[in-house]
Amino acid sequence: MQTQRGLWLFLVPSGLVISLVLLYPLGYAIYLSFFNYYLGGQPPTFIGFGNYVALFGDERFWGSIGKTVLIVAGAVGLEFVLGLAVAFGLYKLTFGVKPLNLLMFLPHIVTPVVAALFLRWIFTGRWGLLDAIIMSFNIFPPDWLGTPGWARFTVILADAWQFTPFMILVLYAGLNTVDNSQIESAQMDGAGNWTILTKIMVPAIKPLILFVLAIRIMDAFRFFDQIYVLTAGGPGTATETLTMYTYALAFRLLEIGKASALGVMTLLLSALTIGLLILVLYRRDKGAF
């Protein structure tokens, strides 16, 4: 028992690091969110929930929530579908899996802002790579970054380009853990690939799917770098997400208190989304989480 009690000491270093880099900034952001704190002027004044109330009455806040949900759902949905399809393809492949996996993972190791710069030169109008290729066939493509609908589609595509490899990696690892005897039995009963994937493999890796979706949703709610570089929130407000609005509040309007409140609300929103996801995926399996 003495040894058991002493084990908590091993948690101290990581606990300290987590407190320093995670809990302290989070606590400080929550603290600042209760102040009217304008960076350019007077000392901060305590206003309680004033910033939160102001945000609830702010049309721009609701607009950015709508766009965030749309972009997050689009990006994570696309990444999941593509990731699962490619992971299943790799699972069925009998040779070259490792090099293929490695190659496909490359976009994920690029720093998001650098990836966004690459993508900007691909999607930019007229002299961008994509336009140049399409226009060489005398076809005039849409203005990828200049029209609201296409701009949203492009940022979703950009996110998918970078983060689908993560989905592939995790889902491929998951598919390999599925009990082979179940698959063989299904095959003997005449089940095809689609049935095996949807009726046996996907249910078998449900906890892993939940994990990977939760990770990606949390990440996607913080989606900033690529939007900042590709569209800067435009055209108009077509891609102005919560993080873009937070950025504008903090660094353009210098409203640190309000920006902190928005950061806290983004955190709550992403936690709520993940909670709902758990509820939906496990509504029949009480006690699973």
């Binding site: 960076l39 350019g40 007229r126 002299w127 590709l230 055209p235 108009g236 407000t237 077509a238 309007l253």
Partner: protein, 417 residues
């Protein structure tokens, strides 16, 4: 292992000596810490950054150059936290008011008087200094006077038998006429915030009634203001693809690569049109004052942080040396010199073919309002205007919303009391 012990002792001795030397050298290095400069980036400012690096012998100047929005944000973060990490800060006629109002900059009047003769500072006319005064005190050493002027393809205009447009209506017509799938009628730079504000400034001052009245009440949503933004919206129909995310770099590129027939751009970008390594339209572009005039003029200069730990006289020497008449003459192809002796030099006008257009544009150009919160207000105004241009809102509704938001912002900053 006696040999090993000996080696280890020797190694420790060498390391000890090295550590002592490093400590001593470190002491010296700390006494001469590099001067930290942060700046907006375009060719003229890159030229001045180079001059600052060699301005004072033995003094290292670390220059960080980046796009305007980033430089402004980083300067705001550094200065608002009263950090001594910045010594020399880029400021234009708009940002200087914000920085000075918040007490982030050092007034330069005493240094200016002290070094006036040594650096011939009387050569800077008052019109070059005025934008850098806040409540009567001077905060910047001017390095460049920039102005937006009209770039147009001389060959295309000649082929079509056209003259540069004199009015906004003529400009819109020409944009429509020159617009083809392969070459846009005009460039438009509508990336938020700075680039959009530059374009909007032209329309609001030419067709509309400007930005604010004397009491800082918005007038950009007046009847004429609505007409101005409707004209802007119409012209975007003839603009280059990607105009909504284009800033000065992208617009310069569109002109250089023969992707647009004309448009508004800064004087500091004129030389780039004739750079054969970057441009496909060398000697094909001419310049004139913009139709209707009233484009934006801006001053680029450098200030000293109020929180610097460096010797202010040393920093001032760096600024005064880099903005010498000789440097302005050397860089005249890429900048508009604020010093009278250089700007009015007839030789320069002969040497650089863009100068007549620049001088013509300067005659009618107007600076942005000297409101310290102008960029903060710009966040609301440009956002709404871009919503109108993108078709998310009607122009009138967008401008009214922007006016209400701007009024609320300025009220919260103590205006109208």
């Amino acid at each position: 292992m006696p040999g090993f012990d000996l080696d280890r002792r020797r190694a420790l001795g060498v390391l000890g000596a090295a550590a002592a030397t490093t400590a001593l050298a470190g002491g010296t290095a700390r006494a001469q810490a590099p001067v930290q400069m942060i700046s907006h980036r375009f060719p003229a400012l890159e030229f001045y950054a180079e001059k600052m690096r060699g301005a004072v012998e033995g003094v290292e100047v670390n220059t960080q150059l980046m796009p305007f929005d980033k430089a402004n944000e980083l300067a705001t973060i550094g200065l608002s936290s009263k950090a001594d990490t910045l010594d020399i800060v880029y400021a234009n006629d708009t940002t200087v008011h914000k920085y000075a109002k918040n007490g982030w900059l050092m007034p330069l009047d005493d240094l200016w008087a002290k070094f006036s003769d040594e650096y011939d500072l009387a050569d800077f006319p008052e019109r070059a200094l005025a934008p850098y005064r806040y409540e009567g005190k001077l905060y910047c050493v001017p390095h460049n006077v920039n102005v937006m002027l009209f770039f147009y393809r001389r060959d295309l205009f000649q082929e079509a038998g056209k003259q540069p447009p004199a009015t906004m209506a003529e400009y819109v017509e020409l944009a429509k006429e020159f617009n083809t799938p392969m070459r846009a009628g005009t460039i438009k730079c509508l990336k938020p915030i700075d680039a959009t504000m530059n374009e909007v400034h032209w329309y609001l001052n030419t067709i509309g009634d400007g930005w604010f009245d004397q009491d800082w009440r918005p007038v950009f949503n007046s009847e004429n203001g609505v007409k101005a933004i409707e004209a802007l919206k119409e012209v975007t129909g003839y603009a280059q693809r990607g105009y909504a995310t284009a800033a000065n770099d992208e617009c310069t590129l569109a002109l250089q690569q023969d992707l647009a027939a004309m448009g508004l751009q800064w004087a500091s970008r004129t030389a780039a049109m004739d750079d054969p390594t970057k441009s496909r339209v060398v000697d094909l572009i001419d310049w004139a004052a913009a139709p209707g005039g009233h484009t934006r003029t801006a001053t680029d200069g450098y200030a000293i942080s109020a929180f610097t730990k460096q010797d202010p006289e040393l920093l001032f020497r760096i600024l005064a040396t880099s903005s010498s008449a000789a440097n302005m003459r050397e860089g005249a192809a890429m900048l508009v010199p604020p010093r009278d002796s250089v700007l009015r030099d007839p030789e320069l006008v002969k040497q650089f073919r863009q100068y007549p257009g620049i001088l013509a544009a300067l005659e009618t150009a107007v600076p942005t309002p000297p409101l310290p919160e102008f960029y903060e207000a710009g966040e609301f105004i440009t956002r709404r205007i871009l919503q109108a241009v993108a078709g998310e809102m009607e122009v009138k509704a967008a401008l009214d919303a922007a006016a209400a938001e701007t009024t609320q912002l300025l009220e919260s900053r103590g205006y109208y009391r």
